[in-house]
């Protein structure tokens, strides 16, 4: 009897130990959604007859830090204050004579933006500074035909080494070179890849930069005649908005396929006679590049929308006998745009373009940010684009605040040289 009672006890304990659910294991806290640091990374050039000014536009009166980096070290750093105008400009010559280098801007707030303007004796270029390095970025619109120089500047401001793979397609097809494979960008360094040396004589170039390790911001540096252009490599997208200003010379919209598969694309044109859907359409073969001359449509400013079935990148190129300007389009419309550096060009003829791809009219305030800020109110009809002259000279930049989503771009010319830069959309 005792024997069977013992067996019953053991059996009961065994059943209990078996059927009880396992206790919940200790868990760590919930992951925090990654929030990139509030920085911008700018291409700068100081020396050899060129000088750079980096402008910062913010929504707060607070401090930030500018650090130039090259060769693995910090070349110089300065703390800046945006002041009551929530804007400021830093002349790189006051920090260090760094040659072609990168600059890390630690922004006063997460919605601050930066842009760089590079002046030479007969050249000027401008571009907004990238806030978040893209793991895959596209650069198109340059060439290495005789007389033209094209370089890719790879900037790595961080403590870890970065490695990129560069894919290039020209009119001859996909290019191959060991100098484009496993390109190492050391920490706190800026590296130039001279496509004119590696792939000379190419008329069209589509460059795709894949970052396989670390973080890199890539920009293109293009020299044609006496002018130069600096423009960002951009993360590809399926939807692009490209404002095209008036110009004294050819105006091109360049569309590049960022992938190894063919994509369908459609170009909608917003011209003087209104919206023309599917103005152009077709197929882009792997890494293929197409150029659409806006001149054939109108000499007035036009807006272009590119829609594709796969990731592409769109750029705007203004060229004349003496000037060259290149900038990307925008992948989004927004109600708030920053244009840092607009109006920093001496003796300039500066213009701002506001492109409204929507149906309804947009009313916006354009503010020139400087110590004595000045603002104007304007309207752009639905499906139209307007171009107007800058009214505030020597400003740190311009801000567009619209009641409807729009796209903004600025362009300027000075002494025969030209520059253009797409605006930077600001969330909220």
């Amino acid at each position: 009897m005792t024997k069977f009672i013992s067996i019953a006890i053991v059996a009961a304990l065994g059943v209990v130990a078996f059927i009880l659910p396992d206790p919940l294991p200790p868990e760590p806290g919930s992951s925090i959604a990654a929030d990139p640091p509030a920085v911008s990374i700018c291409a700068v050039e100081e020396g050899s007859g060129r000088s750079t000014t980096v402008s910062v536009l913010s929504n707060v009166n607070a401090e930030g830090r500018f650090t130039a980096f090259a060769g693995g070290v910090s070349s110089g750093t300065v703390v800046f204050d945006t002041g009551r105008s929530a804007s400021t400009s830093v002349d790189v010559v006051d920090v260090a004579a760094v040659g072609v280098a990168g600059a890390l801007i630690e922004q006063p707030s997460s919605d601050s933006t930066s842009g760089s303007v590079v002046f030479g004796s007969s050249s000027v270029s401008a571009e907004g500074c990238a806030a978040v390095p893209a793991s895959k970025a596209v650069l198109a619109g340059g060439a290495t035909v005789s007389g033209d120089s094209m370089e890719i500047q790879l900037m790595n401001p961080y403590a870890g080494e970065a490695v990129v793979e560069i894919t290039v397609r020209s009119e001859s097809g996909l290019e191959s070179s060991s100098q484009l494979e496993a390109v190492i960008v050391p920490p706190r360094a800026s590296r130039l890849v001279d496509l004119g040396d590696i792939l000379p004589g190419r008329e069209v170039l589509n460059v795709v930069v894949d970052t396989t390790s670390g973080s890199v911001v890539a920009v293109g540096r293009y020299g044609s005649n006496s002018d130069s252009a600096v423009w960002n490599a951009v993360e590809p997208s399926q939807d692009w908005f490209v404002p095209v200003p008036t110009s004294g010379g050819p105006r091109d919209v360049v569309v590049a396929n960022a992938t190894a598969v063919a994509v369908q694309y459609q170009v909608d044109l917003y011209g003087p006679s209104g919206l023309e859907e599917a103005f152009e359409s077709g197929t882009l073969e792997p890494y293929e590049i197409r150029t659409f001359p806006a001149e054939e449509v109108s000499v007035a400013p036009v807006g272009v929308r590119v829609i594709a079935t796969g990731p592409v990148a769109a750029f705007m190129r203004l060229a004349s006998n003496s000037s060259i300007s290149l900038t990307s389009g925008a992948t989004t419309t927004a109600g708030l745009w920053h244009m840092p550096g607009a109006s920093r060009i001496e003796n300039q003829v500066g213009r701002i373009l506001v492109f409204n791809p929507g149906i309804e009219d947009a009313s916006f305030i354009v503010t020139g940010r400087r110590s004595a800020t000045r603002a104007e109110t304007r309207t752009v009809p639905g499906g139209a684009i307007i171009e107007f002259e800058m009214f505030e000279f020597d400003a740190d930049g311009y801000v567009i605040t619209s009641d409807r989503p729009v796209v903004a771009l600025w362009a300027a010319s000075s002494g025969g040289a030209g520059a253009a830069s797409i605006g930077i959309p600001v969330d909220g």
């Binding site: 053991v10 065994g14 294991p25 200790p26 403590a159 870890g160």
Partner: protein, 499 residues
């Protein structure tokens, strides 16, 4: 430490020898315990292998809990000390008492939670009709808690905080197997039924309690070792005689199955311990230390098992700091959180957001000069991809190592006046007016002139030396337990002399 000293400072060799010693002690201990209870079969020594592995100890060893093996090795001796064989009835009470106290103190030193295990076994033996155990010896075994009192008082969460559990899960096969073997033993030879019932009852009861999930890591560790001990007792009963009637033979075979299952866990040649030597793997922190000596490493992983010892929960990962000179047994369990730990937790969370450009600057006040991210790449790696002062340095495989480019010292009197480690304290250049900031939690035990800088301790730099002394209960309890140990040894000697 003592064994390393005896073995000419070769820590690894000393640890290997101790591990082998643990194994031998467990096997011999189970054999001697079963022998004292009247069993003479082959199973009594073989059951030592079940004690070393079984349903519980194997999990702890696999997690790297080397001390758990020591506890398992001592447990059968502590239990044996409470039982007096009829042949030993003439032994002096002093000798018996001394033996109980010695083994109980050693057991509690290895695993405080196991201090009550001998008493529990005695109770079960008594309830099932056994009369070999002495009640006064069982009560004396509680004195073993004196060896662990200071530890438990200093960190009660080690016993009580469920969030600190290791989360080790015993496979469901074990309670079924134990119940089956126990049923067969209970149906078999009457002589082995009590041992089988006590073993199975003990093992199944603690396995059920483990599933409830009560208590902290100390309770979890004790329950796991006890589960293996109970299973070992059952195995000793099942394998006491191999021949017999059909049920007895089947019971022996079932016991052999338990033995085989345990031996498999031990078959890797490391007694189930996790492979590798973490101190050797992270020795770069000492080798590459500057003149100020090594600081600390911050170990981070999304897999808790890849962080040696106890770790604290972060946002999506586990983390802890390790002394750059190497992790010692006493550092395996983290102390109760103080201001410095809270401050470090806040810094780690800030870094984990990915928005911190200078994480090295935030970690420098904690004397952290290396960050090691173990295992698969995860959110913490993403957070460190865009920062300026933690330099990726590929020093070990399977982990990402970052060197803090900013100087981070354990003790400094400011203006570059670094103080160096000196025993458990620090020493450096004397300075009449300066104070030395020490990257440890502020505590009045530091001298001279203890103070604090935020969460960190500070002392006056007047004497060129900073020392730490425990006082009050924290000092008295270890002294008392040492005195009790000496008393117990003396009692054993006196008892033998007087017999």
């Amino acid at each position: 430490g003592v064994s390393s000293f005896v073995w000419f400072g070769a820590e690894g060799a000393a640890r290997t020898l101790l591990t082998i010693g643990f194994a031998g002690s467990a096997v011999v201990g189970m054999g001697r315990l079963a022998g004292r209870l009247g069993f003479r079969g082959p199973g009594r020594y073989l059951s030592g292998l079940v004690l070393l592995a079984g349903p519980g100890t194997a999990l702890l060893a696999g997690r790297g809990a080397w001390v758990a093996l020591g506890a398992a090795a001592v447990l059968p001796w502590a239990v044996r000390a409470m039982f007096v064989h009829r042949v030993d009835e003439q032994k002096s009470r002093w000798s018996l008492a001394g033996s109980v106290m010695v083994w109980s103190l050693v057991l509690a030193a290895f695993s405080p939670g196991l201090a009550v295990a001998p008493l529990l076994v005695w109770l079960l033996w008594l309830v099932t009709g056994g009369r070999d155990g002495k009640w006064w010896l069982a009560l004396l075994s509680i004195l073993g808690l004196l060896a662990a009192a200071a530890f438990i008082i200093g960190d009660p969460g080690w016993l009580a905080d469920e969030q600190r559990r290791l989360g080790l899960l015993v496979p469901d096969l074990w309670p079924l197997l134990i119940a089956v073997v126990a049923a067969l033993v209970l149906l078999g030879e009457p002589r082995t039924r009590r041992l089988g019932l006590v073993g199975a009852g003990l093992a199944l009861a603690v396995l059920a309690v483990l599933k409830i999930g009560v208590g902290g890591p100390g309770v979890e560790e004790a329950l796991l070792v006890t589960a293996s001990f109970g299973t070992a007792l059952l195995t000793a009963a099942a394998l006491d005689t191999i021949a017999g009637n059909f049920l007895e033979v089947v019971g022996s075979l079932a016991g052999a199955a338990v033995l085989v299952l345990s031996v498999v866990a031990l078959g890797d040649g490391r007694l189930g311990l996790a492979p590798g030597d973490q101190n050797e793997r992270l020795s770069f922190s000492n080798a590459l230390a500057g003149e100020s000596g090594p600081g600390r490493l911050l170990i981070v992983s999304e897999d808790r098992q890849l962080v040696s010892g106890e770790s604290r929960p972060g946002p999506g990962f586990w983390y802890r700091t390790i002394d750059g000179e190497g992790l010692t047994i006493d550092q395996a369990w983290l102390p109760a959180e103080q201001a410095g730990d809270d401050a470090l937790g806040a810094v780690v969370r800030q870094i984990a957001t990915g928005s911190e450009l200078r994480p090295g600057e935030l970690l420098a006040p904690f004397a952290i000069d290396w960050v090691v991210v173990e295992g698969q790449e995860g959110s913490f790696d993403d957070a460190l991809s865009a920062q300026l002062d933690l330099v990726p340095t590929p020093l070990i495989t399977g982990a990402r190592v970052f060197e803090n480019s900013l100087p981070s010292v354990m003790a400094s009197a400011g203006s570059g006046l670094v103080w160096h480690r000196d025993g458990t304290g620090f020493s450096g250049p004397e300075s009449g007016s300066n104070r030395v900031r020490i990257s440890h939690n502020g505590d009045s035990g530091w001298s001279p002139e203890p103070g604090s800088v935020d969460w960190a301790a500070s002392v006056a730099a007047t004497t060129g030396s900073a020392t730490f002394r425990t006082s009050g209960v924290g000092l008295m309890l270890p002294i008392a337990s040492a005195l009790l140990f000496l008393f117990a040894i003396a009692a054993m000697v006196v008892g033998r002399v007087r017999r």
